[in-house]
């Protein structure tokens, strides 16, 4: 059914549907009301007409009854006189009574009949139907039928009728008799009235023949009305009277040749009419037929009579056609107007919806920046606002999703490329993330690992119980407490081998469930390396200590005999001088000896000092020291002559007002000695200057400047390494063991002095000491 509808009715769209609903809603009530009204009118008209017809028929029946009552009363009046009654009681046998009766009743009958044109004949019969008295009206005057002319045979019909009647009934039956005046058959209605004696037995019968023409004129005064057809039929359907065939109605009755309702109506209708017991209305083929039994003779079909009124319904309802036309036209107008209004309204209403549809299409095509710019003053505004908001949210969500995807990819990539095993377990220990490194480290493939219990898979049996407790505890305490914790554990490989591992773990709360993330590193190798290193370091430290001790010992072993040699050399020199045997040559040789000896001692002292520092036996005793007065001045006095020997200018300049610092004076003296000694040693012409001052930060700064050979840029970083000199090998121009600056550096570090060096090859060098 639905399918069929969809096939027949073209798709309407919202506008079509709304318009349709609009029209239906607006026109339906009008149509319904109009139809109702017209139907009411039609019904009213019909009812009115039926009422008319009913009243016609009722009137006819009433008139009949009235008429019958009148005749009855007239006759009864005659019959009820006491004397007559007596006579009637004795009627059966005595002929004299009959004669008396004739004489008595004759007059009365004549009175009745002559005063009334209805009567054709009034006859008194005995109970067997034999005529006793008959009075006839030939239309002009009434006369008594002579006795000899009375019928000799009894009128059985009346006797029969009376035998069938109940007490109090009268009988009315159409009949035909020969008009005594004209000697032609005329239709009559027989009025039969039994006369009862005192014991309510039928003692006589009065039969009255009523002229039909007169009777019908009395009964049906309406039959001239053209639109109505009134007729009387007997039980067989033969017309007794017909308003449209008035002119030959005599023939209807006497010569009932095919004049019956079966010719004029269908069998069905005709039979309905002939079987009806009450007043009824029937609609048939545009006609309204009202019918009712009017009176009946005997119980035979032939002797039942019906009055029928038949009107063409269109006569009654023709005015309704105009009303119907008016109705159709007005409904059409209303429908068209509604259609128009509906169309316009819905179009207006649908405008934003159409834009909305267009908008969704644009957005679907990928343009998430599209925004609906519609302003309405109704609920649609909310829809549009929501739509825009939705699009915005969607856009954001898409961006977010993009980020998330990116992030996921990164994380996956990170996880997969990590050299450490990364795994994630849920609160029950079930593995849900297992990276490639995990497969490599543990030997279980991803498929083997996912969904399994982490404890069963990679925790050695001995630690399993503890691990389960630890996980529970960890998850219970939550990520805040434990995240990022790193512990060393024993882990189990697929081949059953246990190994040391470093486990970092953290927890994460996702959708109300805690998950633990673990990063596991195989540290077997690292542990071995660390152990090796510690061993090597310990060995090196022992070797170093042995070296320092050796050097210390060696220094002593060298210095002690050397001092003896030098002392004895001095002693020989002084002895020769005293003996004036000291020539210049010899003196020069002695100086050479002194100088070399001093150099050895200095070198040994340096080595000793260095080893003391390295072995930690050097005692550094910081105290408040006037750098200028206590250190530099004495040194200047010592080195001034040496500079002079090489024709170098030597300047000591103090610019600081308070050249104090808390340092070890011996160390500081050593530092400056080496720097000044080096400056003089590597400077062949020019000057050596020592300047002491305070910098912007009020720190004491001491600089040793020379105009010597300078240091190459390449060598500068190696400057403070032990045993180093820029020029190596036999060709070097300057002597020195290369320990000096290394020692300086060490001493500076010990006394919190920062040392900087700047130098230009061939121009000079400047060492700057900053006392922190």
């Amino acid at each position: 059914m639905n399918h069929l509808l969809k096939k027949i009715i073209p798709p309407l769209g919202i506008q079509g549907k709304l318009t349709l609903i609009f029209i239906l809603l607006s026109t339906l009530p009008i149509i319904l009301v109009s139809i109702f009204t017209v139907n009411q009118q039609i019904e009213y008209k019909r009812e009115e007409n039926i009422r008319d017809m009913e009243s016609d028929i009722k009137g006819l029946k009433e008139r009949t009854t009235l008429f019958l009552t009148r005749i009855e009363s007239e006759i009864l009046l005659v019959m009820k006189s006491t004397e007559l009654k007596k006579m009637l009681t004795n009627l059966e046998n005595k002929k004299e009574v009959e004669e008396q009766l004739q004489q008595n009743v004759e007059k009365e009958f004549l009175n009745i009949i002559s005063g009334n044109s209805f009567y054709l004949n009034v006859t008194l019969l005995n109970k067997s139907g034999k005529e006793i008295l008959s009075v006839t009206n030939d239309g002009k005057q009434a006369s008594v039928t002579p006795r000899e002319k009375l019928s000799r045979t009894p009128k059985n019909y009346y006797a029969h009728i009376v035998s069938e009647m109940n007490h109090g009934e009268i009988y009315l039956s159409p009949s035909e008799i020969r008009d005594p005046a004209t000697n032609v058959f005329v239709p009559v209605i027989d009025f039969v009235l039994p006369v009862y004696n005192q014991i309510k037995e039928v003692s006589a019968i009065v039969a009255v023949n009523i002229r039909v023409e007169n009777l019908f004129e009395l009964l049906v005064p309406l039959y001239g009305v053209s639109s109505k057809k009134i007729f009387i039929v007997n039980g067989e359907g033969y017309y007794i009277f017909h308003s449209e065939r008035k002119n030959n109605w005599n023939m209807l009755f006497t010569n009932r040749f095919d004049e019956n309702i079966f010719r004029d109506y269908s069998n069905e209708i005709a039979e309905k009419i002939l079987k009806e017991k009450t007043s009824t209305t029937l609609y048939h083929q545009g006609r309204i037929i009202q019918y009712s039994p009017i009176f009946s003779g005997s119980r035979a079909v032939t002797d039942k009579y019906f009055i029928v009124e038949d009107v063409a319904a269109e006569n009654v309802l023709s005015s309704m056609d105009k009303l119907k036309l008016l109705l159709i036209v007005s409904v059409l107008i209303v429908a068209i107007v509604s259609l128009l209004i509906g169309y316009l309204t819905t179009r207006q209403f649908l405008k934003p919806i159409k834009q909305l549809i267009k908008g969704t299409q644009i957005i679907r095509s990928g343009n998430l920046d599209y925004k609906l710019e519609i302003t309405t003053r109704d609920e649609l505004q909310d829809l549009i606002n929501n739509f825009n908001q939705l699009v915005l949210e969607w856009k954001n969500k898409q961006l977010l999703e993009k980020e998330v995807r990116k992030s996921e990819k990164l994380i996956t990539s990170l996880t997969q490329t990590a050299t450490d095993a990364i795994l994630e377990v849920d609160s029950s220990g079930k593995i849900i993330v297992w990276n490639d490194a995990a497969s490599r480290i543990f030997g279980f493939s991803k498929n083997e690992a996912l969904g399994k219990s982490v404890f069963a898979l990679i925790v050695p049996e001995s630690e399993r119980r503890n691990a389960i407790e630890q996980l529970a505890l960890f998850l219970k305490e939550g990520s805040d407490v434990n995240s990022g914790t790193t512990i060393e554990v024993n882990a189990l490989r697929k081949d059953g081998v246990e190994f040391s591992a470093e486990l970092s773990f953290s927890s994460v709360l996702l959708d109300d469930e805690l998950y633990a993330t673990g990063i596991i590193r195989d540290i077997t190798q690292r542990k071995k390396m660390v152990n090796d290193l510690i061993e090597a370091k310990e060995k090196a430290e022992i070797a170093d200590r042995l070296k320092s001790e050796f050097l210390n010992q060696m220094s002593h072993e060298i210095r002690t005999p050397l001092n003896a040699l030098l002392n004895f050399s001095d002693y020989i020199h002084d002895d020769l001088k005293d003996r004036n045997q000291l020539t210049d040559d010899i003196n020069e040789n002695f100086l050479e000896v002194q100088e070399s000896g001093a150099r050895i001692i200095r070198t040994v002292e340096l080595i000793l000092l260095m080893s003391q520092i390295q072995t930690g036996s050097y005692e550094n005793k910081p105290e408040q020291t006037n750098i200028y007065n206590e250190i530099l001045k004495p040194l200047s006095e010592k080195y001034h002559p040496l500079a002079n020997e090489k024709n170098l200018q030597f300047n000591l300049i103090n610019k600081s007002e308070a050249p104090f610092s808390k340092v070890d004076p011996y160390s500081i003296t050593q530092i400056f000695s080496h720097l000044i000694d080096n400056a003089i040693k590597f400077t062949n012409k020019g000057s050596v200057a020592i300047i002491i001052e305070n910098n912007e930060m009020k720190q004491l700064v001491a600089a040793v400047e020379d105009t010597g050979i300078g240091i190459s840029e390449e060598y500068l970083p190696k400057l403070f390494n032990p045993f180093s000199q820029e020029q190596q090998g036999l060709t070097r121009a300057y002597d020195g063991n290369g320990l000096g600056l290394a020692l300086v550096k060490k001493l500076c570090e010990m006394n919190d002095i920062s040392i900087e060096v700047t130098s230009v090859k061939g121009k000079g060098t400047c060492f700057k000491l900053i006392f922190i």
Binding site: K130, K155, Y157, E176, I177, Y238, N255, R256, S298, T302
Partner: protein, 194 residues
């Protein structure tokens, strides 16, 4: 008259079959005049079988009258009711012997009944209330109807003992036993007191 012709022919048949047969004649009268339309019939004392006549009896309607007014028939006889008038008739009977109602039927057509039970069938017309007639169904073929003068004649009655019976629509006439001789005609007159 037609019925007379039928009667004579019936009697003629019997006369051939039976060698010994007598005739019965008579007159039925009131004090003043002969009584018309009296059915006179002989019922054998000893029961004999009768065969239904093959010829139908006729009750015609003419000039608003049934003709004849009285029609005696042997049991089993078919009676036809032609309409010989120019108008319609509506023939019926409400009697106990044979109840029928032909309804209205047009001139020229006819209806019929079979008289299968002994007794009196009063016949009436719904349209014409003056019309009336009787069919008298008898168990014996020896019957006659009195004429205007009240005379009757029954020919060729096999000799033997019979009960002579009368029927009239208004008057009761006492029956009597009678012996029909082998030859000749006997006369039986009845005079009614009233």
């Amino acid at each position: 008259m037609k019925n007379r012709v039928v009667l004579v022919s019936v009697l003629f048949l019997f006369s051939i079959q039976l060698t010994f047969a007598g005739n019965l004649k008579g007159k039925i009268k009131t004090k003043e005049e002969g009584l018309n339309n009296v059915v006179v019939y002989l019922v054998p004392i000893e029961k004999t079988n009768v065969t239904s006549p093959k010829t139908a009896a006729v009750m015609d309607q003419k000039n608003l009258n049934f003709v004849p007014h009285v029609l005696p028939v042997l049991i089993g006889t078919k009676v036809v009711f032609p309409n010989s008038d120019q108008i319609r008739h509506s023939v019926f009977s409400i009697g106990k012997v044979k109840k029928f109602d032909f309804g209205t039927y047009p001139p020229g057509s006819e209806k019929s009944i079979i008289c299968d039970q002994i007794g009196i069938i009063p016949v009436l017309c719904y349209i014409h209330h003056d019309m009336s007639s009787y069919i008298v169904v008898l168990e014996t073929p020896y019957f006659a109807l009195t004429n205007e003068a009240g005379e009757y004649l029954i020919n060729n009655v096999p000799s033997g003992k019979y009960r002579l019976t009368f029927w009239h629509e208004e008057t009761k006439i006492r029956g009597q036993e009678i012996i029909i001789p082998e030859h000749g005609t006997i006369t039986k007159n009845v005079t009614l007191e009233e």
